[in-house]
């Protein structure tokens, strides 16, 4: 959480303001797409190619976001028709429910086998995906998104109230499984918030008789630590317990990359969405308070509600090893049904919660389509409806691939890392450098403060010009060294572990053969990048003309 908060202050909020400002600045010149706006700000056609990321990120994220949106709708329906109640009809102890709900999730999303999600049973995601995909395009094609936004004015506060109710239930869970007294809510909170971690490690022999220590699990609570010490003394040197201080944890660049990626994803920074929507604003509009309010509301929901619900509850039900082994996306869908099973009228709460979550997701996915639509309208001689149809074709092909290659949700995981984390990071870096060093931080701040209720302190200029870009570039450099080239910062040498598994999946590694699903996923990303780049290359004159027309008005 420390890396998360540092990232929020040093890069999240400053770059959020940068993206709002760049968008409005470009919009005043008649440009609405990221390639158009960044090309104009850079004052060079190369800027347009940098802006390609601002189109591919929302378009590709949309391809798997609708898949997750379909999970929400499917869970809402299954709560409504009593599927989860049936799984728990014998009033099983929570320890026996964990694998049942886990199996339901794996079957529902198709994690067991490629193609197994594609089906029309209510316990498979396929039918819900079809509904969600059609709903998104009908809403945007017929211009009905305003109606759903009106509904969400009431639905989203209701979701927050419901989240507070769920939070209260989680904080009063105590020790739901008496057979596992260590898995209680206080230890769950400690697992998430303790700055110093106690970690149980296992010895693994490497070359030359040396030993490498691998983390087994984080140990929280006095009783768990005593139990782990007993295991260590019985292990004959095969196990050990170490304390990892906050500073040693912060030395891992992947942690910072993940923290930055999480911040960017949740604030929609480096996403290409804000820059397009901000391009429709006027000088009277307040980008500073808009950006800060959106960020603070999001952080409140993420830290004070979502964070206090999902991870502590996951620790209580699954234990430390279970939390560590679960991907980001699976966590809520595995854990929340367990929380609802421990609540009175849990089925009703589950149905309402997942339906409201589904509505929130629909508003996000609709916003992800707009950058692609604006881009196609800008570079091709087509209108909005034609743009929607073309975008629908492109995204449906990508979505079919991601949903079909569902074993271990490998395609989703790969695309999420390379686009939803890596590309977001790169685009945010490009934007902050263009703002601070090409547009100029003084001119940029003048632009930002037009119509602003809040006056930004002077140190924000230093932050945006020096601190944020340096921070991003250092993390990026360390990430490439450690996770792509396999450099070990603890020994300052190229270690035996090699790069992160996202890279090993692509190039193969000793004991880790290349993964064809991951390779095909990266090929999908490459094809979309190529498609958008060709459109940008062929549209140079059109973008120039549009800018010139605006200048002459």
């Amino acid at each position: 959480m420390t890396a998360y908060f540092i990232s929020l202050i040093l890069i999240g909020i400053p770059i959020c303001w940068v993206e709002w400002t760049l968008g409005r600045y470009g919009g005043q010149k008649g440009l609405n797409s990221s390639p158009g706006i960044l090309g104009y700000v850079a004052g060079h056609p190369a800027g347009r190619y940098l802006g390609v990321l601002g189109v591919i990120v929302p378009v590709i994220i949309y391809m798997y976001y609708v898949y997750i949106e379909a999970w929400c709708l499917g869970y809402a329906v299954n709560f409504t028709i009593g599927t989860f109640q049936d799984l728990n009809k014998d009033g099983l102890p929570v320890g026996e429910l964990v694998p049942l709900y886990g199996d339901f999730f794996d079957h529902f999303v198709g994690a067991t086998k490629d193609g197994s999600a594609v089906g029309f049973s209510v316990q498979q995601v396929g039918v819900f995906l079809l509904i969600v995909f059609l709903l998104n395009f009908v809403l945007i094609y017929r211009g009905l998104s305003k109606g759903i936004e009106w509904f969400c004015r009431y639905a989203m506060p209701a979701l927050v109230v419901l989240a507070v109710v769920i939070l209260l239930r989680v904080l009063t869970l105590g020790t739901p499984d008496p057979a596992k007294p260590n898995q209680n809510i206080i230890n769950g909170l400690g697992y998430m918030w303790n700055p110093t971690q106690v970690v149980l490690q296992e010895a693994e022999p490497v070359d030359d008789g040396a030993v490498a220590w691998k983390d087994l699990e984080v140990v929280v609570g006095a009783e768990s630590i005593e139990a782990s010490k007993a295991r260590v003394s019985e292990s004959d040197g095969g196990l050990r317990i170490v304390e990892k201080s906050m500073f040693s944890q912060l030395a891992n660049p992947l942690l910072w990359l993940a923290a930055a990626g999480q911040i960017f994803f949740s604030l929609s920074v480096g996403f290409g969405v804000i820059i397009t929507y901000a391009s429709y604003l006027t000088e009277k509009d307040d980008v500073v308070l808009s950006g800060l309010s959106a960020s603070s509301a999001n952080e409140f929901c993420e830290v004070a509600l979502g964070g206090l619900i999902s991870i502590p509850a996951a620790y209580v039900f699954l234990g430390a090893a279970g939390v560590a082994g679960m991907g980001t996306f699976g966590l809520g869908f595995n854990v929340l049904p367990l929380v609802f099973s421990q609540m009175p009228a849990g089925n009703l709460f589950g149905a309402i919660f997942f339906f409201l979550l589904f509505l929130a997701a629909v508003t996000s996915s609709l916003s992800m389509l707009q950058p692609g639509i604006a881009f196609l309208e800008e570079v091709l001689p087509i209108n909005r409806k034609q743009s929607v149809a073309l975008l629908g074709l492109v995204t449906s092909l990508g979505c079919i691939f991601i949903v079909y290659v569902s074993e271990g949700v490998k395609a989703l995981d790969t695309v999420d890392f390379w686009v939803g984390t890596f590309c977001l990071f790169v685009l945010a870096t490009i934007q902050v450098i263009l703002f601070g060093w090409v547009l100029g931080v003084d001119k940029g701040f003048k632009e930002m403060e037009k119509g602003a209720e809040l006056k930004l302190p002077g140190f924000m200029k230093i932050m945006i010009k020096y601190v944020s870009p340096a921070y991003l570039l250092i993390i990026f450099g360390m990430f490439v060294l450690q996770n792509v080239l396999g450099f070990d910062f603890s020994t300052f040498s190229f270690g035996a572990d090699g790069p992160t598994y996202y890279v090993k999946d692509l190039i193969g590694w000793e004991g880790h053969p290349p993964n064809q699903a991951a390779r095909m996923s990266v090929l999908l990303i490459a094809v979309v990048i190529l498609f958008i780049t060709i459109l940008v290359a062929g549209s140079g004159d059109q973008l120039n003309r549009k800018t010139e027309q605006e200048k002459n008005v």
Binding site: M1, G143, S145, D285, L289, S296, F300, E377, R384
Partner: protein
């Protein structure tokens, strides 16, 4: 949960809650501030034209 864990949790949750409340206050009491604020919910001009 250690004492430092409690401090970090209360500090973090308190910080985000306080900033959220300040923003709500600014929006609700800032005259016509709300009229000049936008999220990603606005209807784009190209949709209005059709």
């Amino acid at each position: 949960m250690t004492a430092s864990g409690w401090i970090i949790m209360v500090g973090s949750v308190g910080l985000v809650t306080a900033v959220f409340i300040v923003c709500l206050y600014k929006v609700l009491t800032g005259g016509n501030a709300a009229e000049h604020m936008h999220g990603l919910e606005q209807e784009p001009p190209d949709a209005k034209q059709e």
